[in-house]
């Protein structure tokens, strides 16, 4: 037997299969999510003009800067190019009230990036949706600024009779549709009509109401969300089951209490539910990885949101329900797991 012959070795690349790749990258996906948010950003410019621009710019730039500083301090490669910090900043900005002070917005960015993301180890390691964590901290720390709403510059001052409309330099302070709904609820309970208390469905749909920068314009969010589903970045199950659960619960609740039939429709379109279900709850890092897990997660989101909105003292439930379900995600991943093809139940 001759000794073993070593193959001659020209310079070729060796690796284990597969040798081709789909070309999907994280930065490309992040850029597409940013692209999907463009309609919502444009809508916020249209409704809130300069105040939208300044808050969005402040949040996006500061988020990127904070991430770069953290990575520098942590001796890690600086990955501003992957757009994940920009996305976090933008999502945070879209969840803030239009007249929000710039300095506080930057502080929100700090919380979102540093406390929400980098402390856990950066992209992919965070437990909570960073943008919503930043918003929750701001809400706890500055409740007054976080709940001062202004009407869009396009809305007429007679639209809302709930709050005494006080003219400001560029905006009118108002209540959000969800606050109006609380008043409408009490009217419905005593058998009165409440339509004058509520913005019209059409205004609610197109976003001509008070609310956070990016959450009001439903068509813009739908376009972006459907784009993400089409591109495969978002699992349709999350927004579908989230919205469906909220609609069913508010529908039953309204039906039992004898509210107007538009009650669930208002809940679907008002507040942060649209942006939350398409852009926040579907965050890769903080949602379950299996399809069945995502359904459980989305139904949990819907139940929590409806509970907070209907029974809580605070009118908006999306942010907190997403943060709560983020905490449950590892548990869902552990117990709602796939059964292998042809295999029995997993231990």
């Amino acid at each position: 037997m001759e000794p073993i012959k070593e193959p001659s070795t020209p310079l070729v690349l060796l690796s284990s299969s597969p040798h081709i790749h789909s070309g999907h990258t994280v930065p490309a996906a992040m850029r597409e999510v940013l692209l999907a948010l463009v309609p919502a950003v444009l809508a916020s410019f249209y409704y809130f003009r300069m105040s939208a621009l300044s808050v969005i710019l402040a949040c996006v730039i500061s988020a990127m800067v904070f991430e770069a500083i953290c990575q520098k301090l942590m001796n890690r490669p600086i990955t501003t190019y992957d757009c994940s910090a920009a996305l976090t900043g933008l999502l945070l900005a879209l969840c803030l009230p239009p007249s929000f002070p710039i300095s506080l917005a930057i502080m929100g960015s700090f919380f979102a990036i540093v406390i929400g993301k980098m402390v856990f180890g950066g992209l992919g390691c965070n437990v909570f949706n960073p943008a919503h964590l930043g918003r929750a901290i701001l809400l706890a720390s500055y409740p007054q600024q976080m709940t001062t709403w202004v009407l869009p510059v396009t809305a007429s001052t007679t639209l809302n009779a709930v709050t005494s409309a006080t003219m400001k330099a560029d905006a009118v302070s108002s209540a959000t549709p969800l606050v109006s709904m609380r008043i409408a609820e009490s009217l419905w309970q005593t058998g009165q009509q409440a339509s004058t208390q509520l913005p019209s469905l059409w205004n609610l749909f197109i976003g001509n109401v008070g609310g956070s920068l990016g959450e009001t314009c439903v068509p813009a969010l739908l376009v972006g969300g459907l784009f993400l589903i089409w591109r495969g970045h978002v699992d349709w199950r999350v927004p579908f089951f989230y919205l469906a659960t909220v609609a069913v619960i508010t529908g039953i609740y309204g039906g039992v209490r004898g509210y107007d039939s538009i009650f669930p429709l208002y809940h679907l379109m008002a507040g942060g539910l649209m942006i939350g279900s398409f852009f926040m709850a579907t965050d890769w890092v903080t949602s379950p990885i299996t399809k069945r897990g995502r359904i459980v997660y989305a139904i949990g989101l819907g139940v929590l949101t409806a509970l907070i909105r209907l029974r809580g003292s605070y009118v908006e439930g999306v942010c907190y329900s997403i943060l709560m379900m983020n905490m449950v995600t590892p548990l869902i991943d552990k117990y709602v797991c796939n059964i292998s093809f042809g295999g029995g139940a997993k231990k």
Partner: protein
């Protein structure tokens, strides 16, 4: 031909890139001066050589006999002189003893190779011929075919034979050409398989990216009772055994089970051709169709090559060399093939393709691994419904219990997860490594990616 296209659940879409060679007729590659026939070119025990140094052998003569039931005979693919025994690397990284035969250029056929009368063919003869003529699965797995037709007693009776003409690997077109150019032998082989197993139904499964092959085969099986052509959706890994059984029959092969457990046997179309020749003409398996493709090849094509031909001979004689500096040499398809470091490997019974890429190709780029962002694309892609990222987490932590309870053994290593991963995590590679560790009870071998810090 069924109007509904069959498929399995999950899986991925890969650009097929088959246009380089799918229109090119099978051409003969000239027999080389030396052939190197490994004794382990099949799954199972290595064959035992029965020739000595200096023996004169004829083409088709048995030179090594099966080393057990799950093993296979090896035949001389050229006539000439046994000039040596060498230990060589195979593309899969294993080593094997090879019998070296110097070609005398005469191709003197062994006397026993005479066509047989159709009337004397019986199921037992078919099994005997499959074993004696060295027929193994030519789709790549190289599992000895006669073993599939001698199923264990506790299995249900075989009622369906599926011929796999899917060829879901990008670039590879050898099975496509076999379908187009040896269709009658495929049907003949399928009939023999059905006779040997007692199956009443035969399915020829073809992916819908080969309409010409589907049309041809459908026409030919029109008057064949029990045989049908099944059009499958172009999706990876449609050609994987368990996925194909599900697509064709709706049956789920149990975990750790063979298709025989649900009454099905799957064979490659090239295997059917080889079997037909072995049974009818007494011709052993000594040559096969190999696709040579990739952007570096001067003359890509589908070549009929003698077993034991070195890749270098194939590239030189048939494909007329390559252009540029080679960045990648892939033995097999880009999804499951082996990247090798030279052309110094013999063609074995399972080699369906050889791909050469130079530095102009995206194959020359190996991206860096990043952190998992839990997007779940790997979970959505996995045709075995596993959770690759969870298994990989366990493998990285050397938590073999956790990896095992995540069904790491069920992975078919198709690579769909790693193909899809936006963070470029080599998921299937980690899983493969984890399997080896678990096979060796966590000892032996080395983990090149992960070092435990104490």
């Amino acid at each position: 031909m069924s109007s509904q296209k069959a498929t399995f659940l999950d899986g991925i879409h890969i650009p097929p890139n088959k246009s380089l060679t799918d229109g090119l007729k099978i051409t003969k590659c000239a027999a080389p001066d030396f052939v190197y026939l490994p004794l382990s070119m099949h799954i199972g025990a290595p064959a035992q050589p029965i020739v000595k140094l200096g023996d004169k052998v004829k083409m088709g003569q048995v030179i090594a006999t099966a080393g057990g039931f799950v093993s296979s005979n090896i035949h001389a693919s050229v006539s000439g002189l046994v000039t040596g025994f060498q230990k060589r690397y195979l593309p899969n990284g294993m080593t094997s003893n090879c019998i070296v035969i110097k070609n005398d250029g005469l191709d003197t056929l062994s006397e026993e190779i005479v066509p047989r009368n159709e009337s004397e063919i019986t199921p037992d003869l078919i099994r005997k011929q499959l074993q004696e003529k060295g027929i193994v699965g030519m789709g790549g797995a190289t599992f000895p075919t006669h073993v599939k037709y001698a199923p264990p007693k506790d299995c249900p009776a075989i009622d369906t034979i599926i011929l796999n003409g899917i060829e879901c690997e990008p670039y590879v077109t050898s099975d496509h050409r076999v379908l187009l150019e040896y269709p009658s032998e495929i049907i003949q082989g399928l009939k023999y398989f059905m006779l040997a197993s007692g199956a009443k139904k035969g399915i020829i499964a073809i992916e819908d990216n080969k309409p010409d092959a589907i049309a041809l085969m459908s026409k030919l099986v029109e008057n064949e009772p029990g045989i049908e052509v099944l059009t499958c959706v172009e999706k990876y890994p449609q050609g994987s055994e368990k996925q194909l059984v599900y697509a064709s029959t709706g049956r789920t092969v149990p975990d750790r089970g063979l298709p025989a457990a649900v009454g099905v046997v799957v064979d490659n179309v090239a295997t059917a051709v080889a079997a037909a020749r072995a049974i009818k003409d007494n011709m052993p398996l000594i040559e096969r169709v190999v696709t040579v493709s990739g952007n570096a090849v001067n003359n890509p094509g589908n070549y009929l090559v003698r077993l034991g031909t070195l890749y270098s001979d194939l590239v030189e004689k048939a494909a007329q060399g390559y252009k540029g500096d080679l960045a990648r040499i892939i033995s097999g398809g880009p999804m499951m093939g082996f990247a090798v470091n030279s052309l110094d490997f013999p063609i074995i019974k399972g080699s369906g393709s050889l791909l050469l890429f130079n530095y102009d190709s995206p194959f020359a780029h190996v991206p860096q691994e990043q952190t998992c962002v839990r997007c779940g694309h790997c979970v959505d892609a996995c045709p075995m419904f596993l959770e690759p990222t969870v298994i990989v987490q366990a493998v990285k932590q050397r938590n073999w219990d956790s990896a095992a309870s995540s069904s790491i053994h069920a992975c078919i290593e198709c690579g769909s997860c790693a193909f899809e991963c936006p963070a470029h995590i080599p998921l299937v590679q980690y899983i493969r490594m984890g399997k080896q560790f678990i096979g060796g009870k966590g000892e032996g071998g080395c983990n090149p990616f992960y070092v435990i810090k104490k």
